[in-house]
């Protein structure tokens, strides 16, 4: 380029980037979404640290006890969206004592104080009270998104506060929560002037809602895209709701059962025909297959189908699913059986995620014909399948080896053979070879659950090959300490390890103590641990929180117990906050 005139002899130094004003860096950092990138960049120099902290808008706290709420708020003053997770995953199976902790209140209080502009709050497996919800409604003038997943501790009174107080609410998403019904008509508390709702999910609510109020709400919220109803909405009301909201993208039908009436069928069919944007469907469908054809017009467009609460079975179900050629996600009950999955395999070639849940896990006779066959068929025919959760009663090594060969692209493979210690049903061998094949073939595997009869050998494979594995769940498996040692000394990327009922003891835990600082958390219950080992671990690794839980009835002070005392439940996690102060009597921090 060069204009006329001579330039002064240049200094060859690189531009002094560090002298750029902080606002410039904050502006640049606002384009970096990933927390790991931001965390790394923050260590470059002081001005980057300041800029990164001041510009972080979304905060993810994957373990509510890894940091204190005050610390989070001070560090990241500009946060607009926060997600906090509490109890360990095994809480879903009743293994975590009821009063364990994970209260949302301190987080809500700190946020109310330090993040007045907060717009989104998401809690998972935490105790959220009505007071928390009232505080949320009162503290954040631009609050828009509330997501509660697997939480408990609140009632419809808390929902009423949200409805009444959050003028700009866009999303109210309640997934799998335990909500107490106080017979408060919380839906009525959305003002008549309120029209901003985009997502309304109250599928987990047990009680009744006022249908007329719901209809008026749905009518005036013209941007409503997700509507998930609960069991109290009858079918004819579903039809009229759909007519008011034909723009709907995601629908949860609630209870879908009634005696067959041709009028009602016609109404439903017409209503669904009007929903041209419907892509995701769920609901608790009882056995009235006569109404399924009313859905046929939306099948082609569906990308997600969640029938995990639906007890329909047989040819009608298969006819329905076979029309859903563009399905990417399918959650079903094992009532679909092998021949149903064969139909899925031939019709749904775009399938990415499959979950098959047990309809009756406690029935040993197993009336349902769902075996390894179904999973083999789907794995063979669905090239984009990468995530599987499969409950069944029998499996073979050969099937698993075939699956591994067909689908090296699995990122999530969770196989739950219902009866513990079940071997290969043909050869009667342990299933080591099968699960090893999965882990050797699927280089991108990030989540893995194993089951059936397994020896230490499978853990040797997992430790050696599962380089990208982040979460591993083990139950009733292994034969010695070696099993745990293989895992903890391998699995480079391991973040969460949860183990129950395995013969793993103190030695591998202590030998791999340092590994625990590279992981988010470790859960071990009904294994062979002693209190002495836990004490040693806590002494050796002061930055870990070592929690011991024994029989909830027996609130025996730890100090009186000897080193040899068995430990029923152990939960270890790294934390920058030091030991928590809200432990109930059944939990002790060593």
């Amino acid at each position: 380029m060069g204009r006329g005139g001579s330039r002064a002899a240049p200094a060859a130094a690189a531009p002094p980037w560090h002298a750029l004003p902080d606002e410039v860096w904050e502006h640049a950092f606002s384009f970096l979404p990933a927390a790991s990138d931001r965390g790394a960049a923050a260590g470059a120099c002081r001005s980057w640290l300041r800029a990164e902290r001041r510009s972080r808008r979304r905060l993810s706290v994957a373990n509510c006890y890894a940091a204190s709420p005050q610390d989070a708020v001070e560090r990241f003053p500009a946060v607009r969206a926060a997600e906090v997770k509490g109890k360990p995953h095994f809480a879903d199976f009743g293994l975590v004592p009821h009063a364990w902790g994970a209260a949302a209140a301190p987080w809500v209080a700190a946020a109310a104080d330090g993040w007045p502009l907060l717009e989104e709050l998401s809690f998972k497996r935490m105790v959220v009270t009505d007071e928390c919800l009232e505080m949320i409604a009162a503290s954040f003038r631009n609050f828009q998104v509330l997501r509660l997943v697997s939480c408990e501790g609140f009632s419809t009174a808390g929902l009423a506060a949200i409805a009444a107080g959050c003028r700009n609410l866009r999303e109210l998403d309640l997934q799998e929560n335990e909500i107490e019904d106080c017979s408060i008509h919380w839906l009525s508390l959305f003002p008549e002037s309120f029209t901003s709702l985009v997502t309304l999910n109250f599928s987990c609510l047990e009680g009744d809602v006022n249908i007329n109020v719901l209809e008026r709400l749905v009518t005036r919220c013209r941007n409503l895209k997700t509507l998930k109803l609960n069991n109290s909405i009858p079918l004819d009301k579903l039809a009229s709701l759909l007519r008011k909201a034909p723009q709907i993208v995601e629908l949860g039908t609630g209870k879908f059962s009634a005696d067959y009436h041709p009028d009602l069928f016609a109404k439903l069919e017409a209503a669904f025909a009007g929903c041209k944007s419907l892509r995701r469907l769920s609901g608790a469908w009882d056995s009235v297959p006569d109404y399924l054809p009313a859905f046929y017009c939306v099948c082609e467009g569906l990308t997600s189908l969640n029938l995990s609460y639906a007890t329909i079975r047989g040819p009608e179900l298969i006819k329905f699913i076979s029309r859903c050629k563009n399905l990417q996600l399918l959650w079903v009950m094992d009532l679909i059986e092998d021949h149903g999955l064969a139909a899925v395999a031939s019709s749904c070639n775009k399938l990415q995620e499959l979950r098959v849940f047990p309809s009756d896990p406690f029935d040993p006779a197993g009336q349902v014909s769902l075996t390894e066959r179904g999973l083999v068929d789907v794995s063979a025919s669905c090239p984009m399948l990468e995530s599987v959760l499969y409950f069944c009663r029998r499996m073979t090594n050969e099937a698993l080896i075939t699956i591994a060969k067909n689908r090296p692209n699995f990122t999530c493979f969770r196989l739950c053979i219902i009866e513990p210690h079940t071997p290969d049903y043909i050869t009667h061998q342990p299933l080591d070879a099968g699960f090893s094949a999965i882990v050797e073939s699927c280089k991108g595997l990030t989540r893995f659950s194993v089951s059936g009869l397994l020896t230490d050998r499978v853990f040797k494979s997992i430790g050696a090959h599962a380089d990208r594995l982040e979460m591993l769940s083990i139950a009733f498996a292994g034969n010695s300490d070696l099993g745990l040692h293989y895992i903890l000394s391998g699995c480079k990327s391991l973040k969460k390890l949860e183990i129950r009922d395995c013969p793993f003891g103190d030695k591998p835990l202590l030998a791999n103590a340092a590994k625990l600082e590279t992981m988010r958390s470790l859960w071990m219950s009904s294994c062979s641990l002693t209190l002495g080992a836990c004490r040693q671990l806590a002494r050796k690794m002061p930055r870990l929180s070592v929690e011991v839980m024994n029989d909830s009835e027996r609130a025996c002070p730890l100090d009186s117990l000897t080193d040899e005392s068995p430990v029923d439940k152990l939960y270890v996690y790294r934390t920058i906050a030091g030991p928590r102060s809200d432990t109930p009597s059944c939990v002790q921090i060593v």
């Binding site: 380029m1 005139g5 979404p33 927390a35 790991s36 470059a44 560090r75 920058i576």
Partner: protein, 166 residues
Amino acid sequence: FCEICLTNNCDGSAGKIATMIALVSSDNERFEVSEEAASQSQTIRNMIEDGCADGGIPLPNVTSSVLAKVLEYCNKHAATTTPDAASTEAVIGSAGTRAVLGPARHGPVVLRAVPCRAAGRRCPEGCRLDEGQDAGADQATFKIENDFRPEDVEKIRKENAWAFEE
């Protein structure tokens, strides 16, 4: 230092009326700079050459407060520019997510931070993407002096990874 053309290398044409270009921030504030100074950015130079600069050059990604700081910075550091310096670009972030501070042919004019979709892609502004994986690589690219003690860096990374990552 020549206040009209904002450089130390004025060729004496300061007496003439310099062509002024307006840069318009995202919140509609206009900043008048000389065409020469504004042309330090490849983007702007292209727009001038294409005849698009008449109504002022909009910078929809940049607020007035940031733009004011940038221009203040450029004024201070115009003297260190060199006509033949290769494009230097600032890249933060790992594969897939990058914040790129658009470089200038002749100096560090920061006008846009853009998310870059693909590694190795040549951005229209003429910047080159590097595979910066962590702060270490970014520091090399930037030649930033790390003013932390080593134990502080360790602490910062640990705290972020342990508590504030997905």
